[in-house]
Symmetry: C2
Subunit: 351 residues, 2 copies
DNA sequence: TTGTACGCGTTATCAT
DNA sequence: ATGATAACGCGTACAA
């Protein structure tokens, strides 16, 4: 009637073998005779022993088999973006060689609870995002001596990063619009800082989010004076809010809008249609990501298709490599420009 | 130049105190004098000690602070459904009282890798979904003696469950259509088994997925003979595929389609419009979930709004309660029927 | 307030 | 093929 759970030594005693033999039977690391193997298994079943305690095994091995995925925002919010979900998909794939599971962690800087980034039993970490906050997360993880890979963010010396060619890609889209004859272009950007404030970005304002800054820089190489309007998140609703601002004054409407994400672009298109504008006849719109946006039909967005799943997988593989002792270089992934049905020459070209 | 990481006893020695004192300084479980506290912290910093090893602490405490979330499908797929992401959101919230982190686990029955459901260092588990596969997952977790909560699935004796009133809710939608005058109704269902096969469901076929079966039962209480077409997943694309099948033959078109999810409903609407039908004039469509579906505008779906976030939170709180020793009862959540713009009386009523 | 001593459940090493 | 033994790094009665 003892309520204590059976341990491997209980099983060993019951089976009449040594603890090490019992251990070996469960791990399979060393060949055992069929007879003892059966005895151990029988004893285990009798005692209700379901295998080694992962905590003890983890202590002994120095590995937990867990890879932490660190977000800098609310998890629910993060998963609402298809790019993130696809990336998680790839990540799960990439670490599968290790057979590691993914631990969802959020580092918002105020976490008092455990396990936080400070105490989670992780073998490695993947940092996602690009906010200033991430520098702190990086510090914490590095301090613990845990291998880390950064996705789309700035990192120090020798930390593998998975990056996108944001500047070049976005420049290509801008170039496409310029080639079509557009000169009056507005950019709708992703959040510019942790506060995620909406609004026009002053020319002299520093943009603290790498992705946002890079994509904006790409546009400015072609349209140096393009105004930029920051959204509070990457979502259709935010895009619509930005779009309404942009299309509010009929006399000052741009002929094209460059959105920094497909979700934002979809919202901009919605706002344009609300304002009685036709896309692409009255206004061209480009996106970024190349995800499937529900409800965009019949439009096919002109956008930069980013390899979201590959991004996650690359990070996962880099983590796996680090855990196996090698030091993977970072990886630069490239986006593919896709011309859809949402861009056309400006209507007033001949005026 | 020793490469070994410092342990708490190194720190204690350096600080000239005992290990237990050092331990106490880090855990804060017992008051310590300010002086020793400072000495220990200084020593730790000097040695590059960043806090107790979570693996050892976890072994000692018998807790890892990790709650496993078990899916029965590819993680990427799961996260593509807004209901799931919202639920994860609530779950993260619900377990936050424990300060627990969420470990993503997938049990597809063929996992050879570690940590699997068998070996993950989890304090508790949340089982999501309702496939037959889940019974096995349940068995594994229970075998390990780990507290478990099931969301929308069948479970045995004494296992807390978070359920929805699927039958009643879906019946309400069906009743709504009946009241409008519909008699010719088709149901588009969620997957009926692990194989996720598409196609018409024979009357005598057993439906192995609880949600699917329950929602279908709700419809059949009002429309006993309504044909049911199974989709392979809950997505707009799958809904469109089903819709095309349904609307293919103009002479046999139903006047209403009951979809078992909003995503499916959106796809059905798309298919209807492709077929030249107007919603709701030519065909009424209802959904289930009450999530925001991108691209559905200007339609507002007539649907059952389910408390997805609350569902996750309830599960999280149940887990927290179990870990604290109490035995929470299951929770039955109810959906709210919302009349939108996608249902109307059948056009041919007067014929 | 601080220290001593033991145990948490495994697994790796080495010897047999 | 099997067994004895020593870590793994920490938390916590209990004593002082």
């Amino acid at each position: 009637m003892s309520t204590r759970r059976a341990t491997i030594s209980d099983v060993a005693r019951e089976a009449g073998v040594s603890v090490s033999t019992a251990s070996v039977v469960f791990s399979g690391k060393t060949p055992t005779s069929e007879a003892t193997r059966a005895r151990v298994l029988t004893a285990a079943e009798k005692l209700g022993y379901t295998g080694p305690d992962p905590r003890a095994a983890s202590l002994r091995r120095g590995r937990s088999g867990i890879v932490g995925v660190v977000f800098d925002q609310h998890l629910g919010t993060a998963f609402l973006d298809p790019v993130t979900t696809h990336m998680m998909d790839g990540l799960a794939d990439g670490v599968s060689r290790l057979g590691a599971a993914l631990l969802l962690l959020r580092d918002d800087g105020v976490t008092i609870s455990e396990p936080s980034l400070h105490t989670a039993p992780i073998d490695a970490a993947v940092l996602i995002g690009c906010s200033p906050r991430m520098a702190d997360s990086l510090e914490i993880v590095r301090g613990r001596g845990i291998p880390v890979v950064v996705i789309e963010g700035d990192a120090g010396d020798g930390i593998p990063r998975v990056l996108l060619d944001n500047v070049e890609a976005q420049r290509e889209a801008a170039r496409h619009l310029a080639d079509l004859g557009h000169t009056d272009v507005v950019v709708v950007t992703l959040p510019v800082d942790v506060e995620r404030r909406r609004g026009w970005i002053p020319d002299d304002a520093a943009v603290h989010v790498d992705i946002t800054a890079d994509r904006l820089a790409g546009v400015r190489e072609v349209f140096p004076d393009a105004p930029a309007l920051a959204a509070a998140a990457s979502s259709i609703d935010e895009g619509a809010i930005a779009g309404r601002t942009i299309f509010a004054d009929p006399s000052r409407r741009p002929t094209a809008v460059i959105a920094q994400s497909d979700l934002l672009a979809a919202g901009v298109i919605r706002a344009a249609e609300e304002a009685g504008l036709q896309v692409p006849r009255d206004v061209s719109v480009t996106g970024f990501d190349g995800v499937v946006v529900d409800g965009l039909a019949p439009h096919v967005l002109t956008t930069l298709v980013q390899p979201a799943t590959a991004k996650g997988r690359a990070a996962g593989e880099a983590v796996a490599a680090m855990l196996e002792g090698s030091t993977p270089a970072g990886l630069d992934l490239t986006c593919t420009f896709r011309v859809g049905t949402t861009t056309a020459p400006p209507r007033s070209t001949g005026v």
